[in-house]
């Protein structure tokens, strides 16, 4: 094209020409036009500013992304480079080998699975499920009278009122027996007590006074309820009335169990072991009546009791009701 003619290029640059100009591939005529034409120059300036924004953003961005810039010395990187030689140049062989090994293993597994004995064994396989053990569980022991003893009489029993129906029969209904053939003196389960000579049954620890069976409930003696003697409930002596785990009584579950502290002496002596405690978890889940069954010494017994006192339980249940349950707890002391 004649430069003179090009100088008088009056029509604006096409899109393609502008793109060419942008990539630095413009003819001299086009460049000349751009420098003289406000419209084309403006269009180019807009585009160039967009691109320079883009360049700035990418540069700024990469500078912030490059966290390891200069932080990792080159020497470390050379070590990384040597890692690439892990296969010693036998990358392809290693890859094929790996595939072969995998295929072999899978094939062997499939082959083993298709063997008749294995298939037979699979057929005989009985899936385990959780069996319903409800019927096999020991039934809660009902306190039942074992039937009437005494002197059999000729006539059938007479009509009368049935005793009140209650979940537990503390005192079975008994026919008054005036002259038992084999009299059995009442007994009681109780710790060793002072032996006092007295014409009537009573609490050996109580004070002397007007003859009284106490203000309790039941046929017992004392302030408790039931058959026993003393302030508790049940048929024994003394306080504390708790179920044993089992027989329809679920075990209490600890829900909050702070760790016991070590005593200073035991820590110095590097003393380890376990303290066995016996306690009653009452219906509120609070441990009561904590006793040491197996002692460890060096102050650890006290620490164990202190810790267990802070424990809280989900109380044991009987027939869906929270009941006091006696339990043993082993508190372990381990030095790490």
């Amino acid at each position: 094209m004649n430069p003179h003619l090009a100088h008088r290029l009056t029509h604006h640059l096409t899109k393609e020409q502008i793109s060419k100009y942008l990539i630095g591939d413009a003819t001299p005529q086009e460049s000349q036009h751009v420098s003289s034409c406000a419209a084309c120059g403006g269009e180019l300036a807009r585009l160039e500013s967009s691109f320079s924004q883009f360049r700035g953003a990418v540069r700024h961005w990469s500078d912030h992304r490059s966290v390891t810039d200069g932080a990792v010395p080159w020497n470390v990187r050379v070590e990384v480079a040597t890692l690439q030689g892990m296969y010693g140049g036998h990358k392809t062989v290693a890859g094929i080998g790996s595939v072969l090994i995998h295929v072999t293993v899978v094939t062997l597994l499939l082959a083993a699975g298709s063997l008749p004995p294995v298939q037979q064994a699979m057929k005989e396989f009985v899936p385990l499920f959780a069996p319903d053990l409800k019927e096999l569980q020991p039934k809660p022991k009902m306190e039942q009278s074992k039937g009437g003893g005494g002197s059999p009489q000729k006539t059938a029993e007479t009509k009368g009122e049935l005793p009140r129906v209650a979940p537990k029969s503390f005192v079975p209904p008994i026919r008054p027996q005036d002259d038992p053939k084999l009299a059995v003196n009442p007994t009681i389960v109780a710790p060793d007590m002072p032996n006092i000579n007295s014409p009537n049954y009573g609490n050996p620890l109580a004070g002397l006074g007007i003859p009284s069976a106490g203000n309790g409930i039941g046929t017992g003696i004392g302030g408790g309820k039931g058959l026993g003697v003393g302030p508790g409930g049940g048929i024994g002596f003394g306080g504390g009335f708790a179920y044993k785990i089992g027989g329809g009584v679920s075990a209490p579950v600890p829900v909050f169990r702070p760790e016991p502290e070590y005593s200073e002496e035991a820590r110095k002596a590097k003393w380890q072991g376990a303290v066995l405690l016996e306690l009653v978890v009452d219906e509120n889940g609070i441990p009561q009546n904590i006793k040491v069954v197996r002692s460890l010494g060096l102050g650890l017994d006290q620490k164990a009791i202190e810790a267990v006192q802070k424990w809280r339980f989900k109380p044991g249940q009987k027939d869906g009701k929270a009941v006091p349950v006696s339990a043993n707890i082993e508190v372990n002391f381990r030095l790490l």
Binding site: D25, S50, V58, S62, S66, G70, W74, R77, V78
Partner: protein, 187 residues
């Protein structure tokens, strides 16, 4: 560039120390190119690493015909090409790759002292270019980034990519046309 003259005379004469200085000097640029090409910080870091490892291993082959930066960029461009080729096979990795969010790049507009309108406009433009660049073919993207982010001229790009200057021109032309289309669509 002064360092290319240095190496033309005695390439890596004093060994690792010099190379470390070169790494420090060229790493940001290589990383930037790889990050913009791959849009994945982790892969870009790895490939930057690979680039310098390859350069170090092949340091005897550096003849000084181009500047050291161009030579490194050539290695980086090859790495990008290889990576694109291999990641086409690794289709399962595509979901796992943490692609850069679009808002990510546009948050890095330099000179935050502009008016909010200007910043918003710049953001939109950068986003449009970034999105358009993503839809380019690998070669077009490479030449586009080399031209408009790394500010290389056509001859340098031809050296880096190993293409003829005419090929570079046509790739770049098509890339610019697509990007402009993207910019206009935004409007």
């Amino acid at each position: 560039m002064p360092e290319s003259a240095l190496f033309a005379d005695a390439p890596f004469a004093s060994g690792l120390q010099d190379f470390e200085a070169l790494v420090r000097e060229h790493r940001p640029r290589i990383f930037r190119f790889l990050l913009a090409s791959l849009r994945d910080t982790e892969t870009a870091e790895n490939l930057t690493q690979d680039c310098f490892v390859s350069a170090f291993k092949a340091r005897d082959q550096f003849r000084g015909s181009a500047s050291f930066g161009t030579w490194l960029m050539h290695i980086a461009a090859n790495l990008v090409r290889d990576h694109e080729a291999s990641s086409r096979l690794k289709f399962w990795r595509r979901k796992l790759r943490s692609d850069v969010d679009l808002s990510d790049i546009s948050d890095w507009i330099p000179d935050q002292q502009k008016s909010p309108e200007a910043v918003a406009l710049a953001k939109e433009q950068v986003e449009a270019i970034w999105r358009a660049a993503a839809s380019l073919s690998a070669r077009q993207r490479t030449v586009f980034l080399l031209r408009f982010v790394e500010d290389m001229d056509l001859l340098e790009i031809a050296t880096v990519t190993g293409m003829k200057e005419g090929t570079v021109k046509s790739h770049l032309f098509r890339a610019v046309q697509s990007v402009r289309l993207g910019l206009e669509e935004r409007k």
